[in-house]
């Protein structure tokens, strides 16, 4: 074939770029903030299976219903028996249903990030005008929001129910606000831990097991040790042991500062100084999770 081509004798005369009529894009460029917002809303919808197949809607929706059902039952009971108080504190609700929350994080954190890694779509995101920080922030914020919806919805049910049952307004509002602060902290913490673990493995199944291990196993270990420390009479150790699992961390923070009754064995929560350490560790973990995610995505596929 090459022989048929005439040798270009005088370059410059014969070479030219043909305009074959493609039009330039002259519409509005929506830019980085728009891309980040889209990623956030898509991830948030994805966390509840919206915009995905019917099969993947089952689990998040089921967990959402399981999360809200006890609240509805409690409200029904409180209204029917004309009780003076709800059977469960706002702050205690998430602690009691922690298994459901853990399962939700474990199932949705890997679906949020592992599949991007596995199908190598992360570089495609970064071919858009977003940067590492945008991707991490959008994913972190979306999972934290999804968790906040999951944990705050039952509190809202409780609150509305409590007002309908004509319980004390000021008292209930205070409890509700404290509960919201506590679940907001919990959402940030759990979302961070879940995403860090899930972003390490491209395998979804393995990510789920690893997240559950971090959330549940540490709780099992910590509560076992706390129970033993309590029986042995070393009550001082109980609060310090609680620093080592996410759910006891939240429990400690809210019983020190948000007026919650502690679920620790013996029912004695951390004191104010210990509570300050709890808050510091919680915030440190959230910041650490964010930092680790930023580091993780610094070099993915690029």
């Amino acid at each position: 074939m090459a022989t048929e081509q005439p040798v270009a004798t005088a370059a410059g005369d014969q070479t030219r770029i043909h305009n074959i009529g493609y039009r330039n894009y002259d519409g509005p460029r929506l830019g980085r903030a728009y891309a980040r917002r889209s990623l956030y809303s898509q991830s948030l919808r994805g966390a509840y299976g919206l915009g995905r197949s019917a099969k993947s809607k089952i689990l998040p929706m089921l967990l959402f219903v399981v999360m809200c059902l006890p609240a509805a039952i409690m409200v029904a009971v409180a209204v029917a028996t004309k009780a003076n108080d709800l059977p469960l504190d706002y702050t205690r609700y998430a602690i009691v249903l922690q298994a459901v929350i853990s399962l939700y994080v474990a199932s949705q954190a890997p679906q949020s990030v592992s599949r991007d890694l596995r199908f190598k779509t992360v570089p495609l995101y970064f071919s858009r005008p977003i940067e590492t920080a945008d991707y991490v922030r959008a994913k972190y914020a979306s999972l934290a929001s999804a968790l906040f919806i999951l944990t705050a919805a039952p509190l809202l049910v409780l609150y509305v129910g409590a007002l309908l049952a004509e319980l004390d307004f000021a008292d209930q509002t205070k409890g509700f606000a404290q509960g919201l602060v506590s679940v907001a902290l919990l959402s940030l913490l759990f979302a961070g831990l879940g995403l860090v673990v899930a972003s390490v493995t491209p395998r979804r199944g393995f990510g789920i097991a690893a997240v559950i291990a971090v959330l549940t196993i540490t709780y099992g270990a910590v509560s076992t040790l706390q129970a033993i420390a309590d029986v042995q009479g070393s009550t001082g150790a109980v609060a310090w042991i609680g620093l080592f699992s996410p759910i006891t961390l939240i429990d400690g923070v809210q019983s020190a500062f948000l007026g919650a009754t502690s679920a620790f064995p013996g029912g004695v929560g951390p004191s104010n100084t210990e509570g300050a350490v709890y808050v510091l560790v919680t915030l440190g973990l959230i910041a650490g999770a964010y930092g680790l995610l930023m580091r993780r995505y610094k070099k993915v596929g690029l």
Binding site: R52, R204, I208, A221, A229
Partner: protein, 239 residues
């Protein structure tokens, strides 16, 4: 019925790279707890029974069972590479049986051995507590591995369903509804352990004959059905 090549590949899938780390982290945590409890409380039979029963058998064994059982076949089905295995002239039940053996072996090594070690650290096998819980872990390993291997062939979300069974059914319902305890691998294995332990530190809600029959039935049926599922496996795309 046992194919060494399939076994080798499965071992590699389960223990290769970083996967052995998470499998190893749980037993390590158990040993750390055992040492900490021994230092805090000294040797006490009741305490060691609580730790082994509450943490080792109730939490650690099922989770390792989920990881090993579903991990033996789930990822292969998930990414479609199982067709290369299925296209070889090996019987499907043989594949399942081999993978089951591997999953059982891995679960036993990572759950029963640390249970025994933790028991020895906690109270030096006083009242046979360590041995009893080790036997419970061994028995439970077989049933869990078979059950979760079946889940791996049935569902794409095997890990979640396995964890729901282990955490919600056995732990949550088991503590609230007494009837749920009759249908729990944990209680069946405790029934076997009860026979071994002295005294009444290890108790179960299920009688030994019932437990043995149910354990054997679950293991055999799950393995058989997993073989059947693999015979008629259809591969679907991701979601």
């Amino acid at each position: 019925m046992y194919d060494p090549t399939v076994a080798r590949l499965t071992y590699r899938a389960l223990l290769g790279r970083r996967r052995a780390l998470i499998l190893g982290a749980l037993p390590l945590l158990l040993l750390v707890i055992a040492v900490a409890v021994r230092a805090l409380a000294g040797a006490d039979d009741q305490t060691s029974a609580d730790v082994l029963g509450g943490f080792a058998l109730a939490t650690m064994v099922p989770i390792i069972g989920v990881i090993a059982g579903t991990g033996a076949i789930g990822p292969e089905i998930d990414d479609g590479s199982v067709v290369y295995l299925l296209s070889k002239p090996i019987k499907r039940p043989t594949i399942i049986f081999t993978k089951l053996i591997v999953a059982i072996a891995v679960t036993m090594v990572f759950s029963a051995v640390p249970t025994l070690l933790a028991g020895l650290i906690l109270n030096g096998n006083g009242q046979q507590v360590a041995v009893a819980y080790t036997i419970a872990a061994l028995v439970a390993s077989i049933a869990y591995a078979a059950l979760f291997l079946l889940l791996g062939t049935v569902s794409r979300h095997a890990v979640v369903f396995g964890l729901v069974y282990a955490l919600v059914w056995e732990a949550l319902f088991g503590s609230l509804v007494p009837g749920a305890r009759t249908l729990s691998v944990q209680q069946w294995s405790l029934a076997v352990a009860q026979k071994v332990a002295d005294g009444n530190l290890v108790t179960s809600d299920v009688g030994l004959p019932t437990a043995t029959v149910l354990l054997a039935a679950v293991t055999v049926l799950a393995t058989w059905y997993a073989g059947q599922k693999l015979r008629s496996l259809t591969l679907a795309g991701e979601e």
